[in-house]
């Protein structure tokens, strides 16, 4: 990724309006999201205890967050005991500086990377480039995004917006060793990526990863993947640096029995992903550094409604079922976290001072499909509504809401207001003016009846 999501112009409705005009994008997204939806439904349906696993997953994450301070200290002790080094980073700049210094200390100027949301969030690749260090993405989709000078548009499949023909073009253009006869068969494209990265894996001295889970009790880190690029990066280099959000913890080793069932089935729709690596501290002679990242998470934790977003295990099931994501695509969200989870995570992590971030809580029809599929039961619609209340509003709208609240709060006032509205019903416009027009741009005001239900009830039914 050469650009940066931060400070992107526009807002969600404008971005989405542009994206829905792209028929290729809509075709690619529809095909991909519908495929994965079906696969997920099959493998989730196979487990008779999915509801119980989901309840356990939610509670384990809530327990982690409730005592996050204690579990982080426990993790630090366990990792240190096992020969690893633990670093703490308040924000993106601090994390990037720590990683750059660690890489420089090895004397290397190239690193290989395992796909990681945390390092995308802090824009580590760009920060390393400024220090003269080149980061090579090794996940196939990340490679497609990096080579295509593009932005990721999905948590699990960052190049979901590209089809095979587009990927072939990118490979032919950017990977010099690719034979010109390359077809657009997915197997041929995967083979081209294998050849491109093989030698780099074998000679790289430093790797950077994230982690799906960290176990406080044992100090174990867990990475789930499919291709083997993760195993290559985690295993072969002499130095491994993992940058992990502080909420990625689980308290006990046993807790993995829940998440290793919830995550693969929700994410790729498989009973199990091809490879999962687990390691505790410095393993097989490797130097291991863990960078624990806050970067706004403690702020999210302080919001009693919003903090449930920190339960997220980045499976992306909510993206795949979202009718808004399916049509608008990931780029419209202007963040590494797109889709429903992004609409509640980004405004909480970054604040709502930009036009784009303030528009995200509205990037939803509140249909609730995201909540239904979430393996840790994050009530995304609830958080969206909560954030809409906190988003900046026009003073006229705020005043209108205050008046409405005052009237609805008291039955006598409401009765009087209804009678007044009935009397002047012919004069009420279908569309609201000025700053209130957002309420009526896409829907009409309802007709005011000749008589309110309350008055009708008074006349007819009251004994």
């Amino acid at each position: 990724m050469s650009g940066t999501f931060l400070g992107m112009p526009g807002n969600f409705p404008e971005n989405a309006a542009k994206a829905v005009q792209d028929s290729q994008l809509r075709y690619n997204l529809r095909k991909a999201t519908h495929t994965i939806r079906g696969k997920r439904a099959n493998v989730v349906g196979e487990l008779p205890d999915w509801t119980e696993l989901r309840a356990a997953g939610k509670a384990i994450k809530d327990e982690t967050l409730r005592h996050l301070d204690r579990y982080l200290i426990q993790l630090e002790e366990a990792v240190t005991r096992a020969g690893g080094h633990v670093h703490w980073a308040r924000d993106a700049a601090e994390a990037n500086r720590i990683v750059a210094d660690l890489v420089k200390a090895t004397g290397e100027s190239e690193v290989v990377k395992v796909k990681s949301m945390a390092t995308q969030e802090i824009e580590l690749n760009e920060a390393l480039a400024e220090q003269g260090i080149t980061a090579y993405e090794t996940d196939l989709a990340e490679l497609i995004v990096q080579l295509g000078d593009d932005f990721p548009s999905h948590i699990l499949v960052p190049a979901i917006h590209r089809n095979r023909a587009e990927i072939r073009e990118i490979f032919l253009d950017k990977m010099p060793e690719t034979p010109p006869g390359l077809t657009d068969e997915p197997a041929a494209l995967a083979e081209a990526a294998r050849l491109h990265l093989r030698e780099r894996f074998l000679r790289s001295k430093v790797a950077i990863s994230g982690a799906n889970f960290m176990v406080a009790e044992t100090g174990t880190l867990v990475v789930l993947e499919s291709e083997g690029n993760g195993r290559m990066c985690l295993t072969l280099p002499e130095t491994l640096i993992s940058v992990v959000g502080i909420e990625k913890l689980v308290p006990a080793w046993r807790d993995l029995e829940v998440f290793l069932q919830l995550l693969p089935r929700s994410s790729t729709g498989e009973r199990m992903n091809p490879y999962t690596s687990m390691w505790t501290g410095a393993v097989e002679g490797q130097d291991f550094h863990l960078v624990l990242l806050d970067n706004g998470r403690t702020g999210v934790l302080a919001d009693e409604v919003g903090r449930q977003a920190l339960r997220c295990i980045r499976c992306s099931a909510c993206l795949n079922v979202c009718p808004v994501y399916e049509r608008a695509g990931g780029h419209a969200y202007g963040s590494v976290y797109p889709g429903p989870i992004g609409a509640i995570l980004t405004p909480q992590l970054r604040g709502m001072s930009s036009d784009l971030d303030a528009s995200l809580p509205y990037a939803s029809s509140l249909c609730g499909a995201c909540y239904e599929v979430c393996p840790v039961a994050i009530d995304i619609p609830e958080v969206l509504v909560h954030l809409r209340g906190k988003a900046p509003h026009n003073p006229a709208e705020r005043a209108g809401m205050r008046v409405a609240g005052w009237i609805l709060d008291d039955s006598v006032r409401l009765g009087k207001a209804q009678r007044l509205a009935t009397r002047f019903r012919k004069l009420v416009p279908k569309r609201l003016p000025g700053p209130l027009s957002a309420w009526t741009d896409t829907r009409d005001l309802p007709d005011i009846p000749e008589e309110s239900f309350r008055d009708w009830w008074e006349r007819h039914e009251r004994p």
Partner: protein, 194 residues
């Protein structure tokens, strides 16, 4: 204040009034499966790995047949009867890259998900040994197969480096089609020894 103390302080401030949590564990932790070997073999096969189920006495001959003509990595501690008659490959990274395959045992296997777990114990090799060669032949003893994920987690030692393998290397990054064979071994062959 240093970053560690500041982050821990912010957390304590943030969760001060948060409610305590009880973790319900009503999910299955012990599942009874009538035919563990059969379910495991079926699920491994679903990932397009190759599976053989054989009586233990026939396993050495099968291995010999499978590795004939291949330069194989043979990890320390592998039962000698599982090593086949193959030419042995060396241990450096370049030699691993030049090898044709690796033959190992495993620590535990999961029937419901068709998963093999390696813990770098005797006969399982280092993590690089089972990663770099393009062909992985893994022998699973029937008694190592458990029904579900919880039973496997309970049997494993987190202090060891663990690799969970479910089928050959794959990707779904192109139009969400599963394609076998990217960076890890492109062929996974499993022998269940009964």
């Amino acid at each position: 204040m240093n970053a560690r103390d500041e982050i821990l302080g912010r957390i304590r401030q943030a969760v001060r009034d948060a409610p305590e949590v009880e973790i319900p564990r009503a999910y299955r932790t012990r599942t009874s499966v009538a035919d563990l070997v059969g379910l495991f073999a079926e699920r491994v096969d679903d990932y397009r790995a190759i599976v053989h189920v054989l009586p233990s006495a026939e396993v050495p001959d099968k291995i010999t047949e499978l590795v004939r003509g291949r330069r194989m990595v043979v990890p320390d501690g592998l039962p000698p009867q599982w090593a086949g008659q193959a030419e042995r490959a060396g241990g450096s990274l370049a030699e691993l890259d030049a090898a044709d395959g690796v033959v190992t045992g495993c620590a535990v296997a999961i029937a419901e998900t068709g998963t093999i777990v390696l813990d770098a114990g005797p006969g399982q090799g280092s993590r690089a040994q089972t990663l770099v060669p393009d062909y992985h032949l893994c022998v699973v003893r029937a008694e190592q197969i458990v029904a579900g994920v919880p039973e496997a987690v309970a049997r494993l030692d987190p202090a060891r480096p663990l690799t969970w393998i479910s089928g050959p290397s794959a990707t779904s990054d192109i139009e969400l089609n599963r394609v076998e064979g990217v960076h890890g071994p492109r062929t996974l062959e499993v022998i269940v020894s009964t």
